[in-house]
Symmetry: C2
Subunit: 80 residues, 2 copies
Amino acid sequence: MKKCSEQSLTDLGTRVRRARLAKGYSQDDFAERCGLHRTYIGSIERGERNFTVLNLIKIAKALDTSVGDLFGDKTSSDQE
Amino acid sequence: MKKCSEQSLTDLGTRVRRARLAKGYSQDDFAERCGLHRTYIGSIERGERNFTVLNLIKIAKALDTSVGDLFGDKTSSDQE
């Protein structure tokens, strides 16, 4: 059974990956848009990295989404 | 002029502080609820710390709010 924190990172990584693929970005392309290294993006998507708030903001911006969406928060867009 | 990243941390810290005060928690009380040190909470509220995603989740949980709310995302609760 995964620890709660590990599950949180895994869920977050899965949402980042899903959003990246929905945008049609490769990991290389996406890493460049974020200003981060491709291997770093890979470890985030696998839920292996407890990354920082500033990198979270970079990732949300590069995906043109909100941080709340990356955490699966119910937002107004879910109401439409 | 603050760098964009510094401003992001300052804005986030201000929202954490506002939410903590709205709950009526002292920094000591809140730190204990988060499982973090009081001085760590203080540095977050002052926007001095680029803290991690797992600590962000702990803080949102202790405030009984969503991560999106801490980032000022427009959520369904803003619609009511």
